[in-house]
Amino acid sequence: MPVRTALTRYALACLAGAIVATSAGAQPSPEQTALAIRQGHMKNYAAMLGVLGPMAQGAREYDAAAAQVAADNIYHLSMIDQTHYWPPGTAQGEIEGSAALPAIWENMDDFMAKQEALADVASQLREAAGTDLASLQAAVGALGQACGACHQPYRAQN
């Protein structure tokens, strides 16, 4: 049920985004599309963490099945090859709404290595989520650090 609530919220957010995009009239540029896709990808992580986080923090009762679904989704998200998410011309200042720092394009190898580090942690999360609450807590903590490790050098202060 919590998963469904989170997914519904996510679907509504996507729909709202689509309406806004359509009402703007013009076809989105390839850069705008890349931006929308990668930001949606990040929101998808946040929606799944909206299931796992409160369990790990003790605000919601641990539910092994729901945790497993969310962790599986995070794992699959982390496996997506992101090469097409980051075309040139989509850094902050180059395109409206972007918080991506130019450092990404100066250090693309490191940036992609951090994605792979996230995928490793997500794979551990997938193993841990359905086991018990203590395993979930440790794995969610590690996931947060992997997110932060990339946000720190590559996403603008906001």
Binding site: Q57, G148, A149, N158
Partner: protein, 300 residues
């Protein structure tokens, strides 16, 4: 002739007064008498004081082991570029310093040779710390790995390159009182000590005046990001509407209430500073942030 003489005397007096006002102002010996540092206690205080995020080597992203405080990170400002010095326990760092010298440097911004440090080093905040806490940090510093990295001089233009001038800045702007005053709950008081002194949150979250001093009338009201685009957020109740629980969880995990994850400098602050605090201390910070006067966001 008489006018010239009067002017000369006046100038000499003014110069003498300036020289006197700008002199280094160390803690009196009595304040340091009998203080011995405890390295074990210092480990936790070192994390609270956030030493590592500025003094760690630039290419060290921070791992599990003890940090190597080789210095070398560059900090941009309107006044020039400051380079964090080596504070590892080596001859190039603080290895040959006495505890008293470390305390005077940290709390008063005075070097062992009696020169002023630039306030890029947050001694205006550490000034409000307890001498014992700083002594404990000094004892802990001595347990860390040595680095022989040489210090890089700061790149600061005239007139800010006159060190003595920092003495005037100190006379104008250093304060011995906390911003938040009044009868405070014990948790808020603890939070005040962490935010205003040890963890020096105000250094980034409070806007500065033209001379680079914190504007206490807009305490924690947000400021331009000195090292890149964007702003350091306003964390007063004027903007920050998270619950105390949400603030404490953010400082522990980096997760916002909508499960975004902290980025920029705050990711490092959470990693090496607030995530290593006790739950009680993180809640104390949250309680304090709810108690500071709200600063309104800029009109749209």
């Amino acid at each position: 002739m008489r006018v010239t003489l009067t002017l000369l005397v006046a100038a000499a007096l003014l110069g003498a007064a300036g020289w006197w006002v700008s002199a280094p102002d160390p803690l009196p010996a009595a304040a340091l008498a009998g203080v011995t540092g405890d390295a074990e206690r210092g480990a936790a205080l070192f994390a609270m004081a956030g030493c590592e995020s500025c003094h760690r080597a630039p290419d060290d992203q921070g791992g599990e082991g003890p940090p190597v405080l080789s210095g070398g990170r560059a900090f941009l400002s309107e006044f020039g570029t400051f380079h964090a010095p080596n504070i590892s326990p080596s001859p190039q760092g603080i290895g040959d310093w006495t505890d008293a010298e470390i305390i005077q440097a940290t709390m008063r911004g005075v070097s062992p040779l009696g020169a002023h440090y630039y306030p890029a080093f947050p001694y205006p905040a550490y000034r409000l710390a307890a001498v014992q806490d700083v002594a404990d940090i000094a004892a802990f510093l001595r347990t860390l790995p040595e680095s022989d990295a040489p210090n890089r001089p700061h790149e600061v233009g005239f007139p800010f390159n006159i060190r003595r001038g920092i003495g005037l800045w100190k006379a104008l702007f250093l304060r011995d009182d906390f911003v938040l005053q009044g009868d405070l709950e014990p948790a808020v008081e603890r939070g005040r000590y962490l935010v205003e002194a040890l963890a020096h949150c105000g250094e980034c979250h409070t806007p500065r005046n033209a001379l680079g001093a914190l504007d206490r009338s807009r305490w924690l009201g947000g400021a331009p990001n000195p090292s890149g685009p964007g702003r350091i957020p306003n964390i007063t109740p004027g903007v920050l509407t998270w619950t105390e629980e949400e603030i404490a969880l953010y400082l522990q995990s980096g997760f916002t209430p909508v499960f975004d994850v902290a980025g920029g400098e705050m990711a490092e602050v959470i990693r090496s500073n607030t995530s290593r605090m006790t739950d009680e201390d993180r809640r104390a910070i949250a309680a304090y942030l709810k108690a500071v006067p709200p600063v309104a966001p800029p009109a749209p």
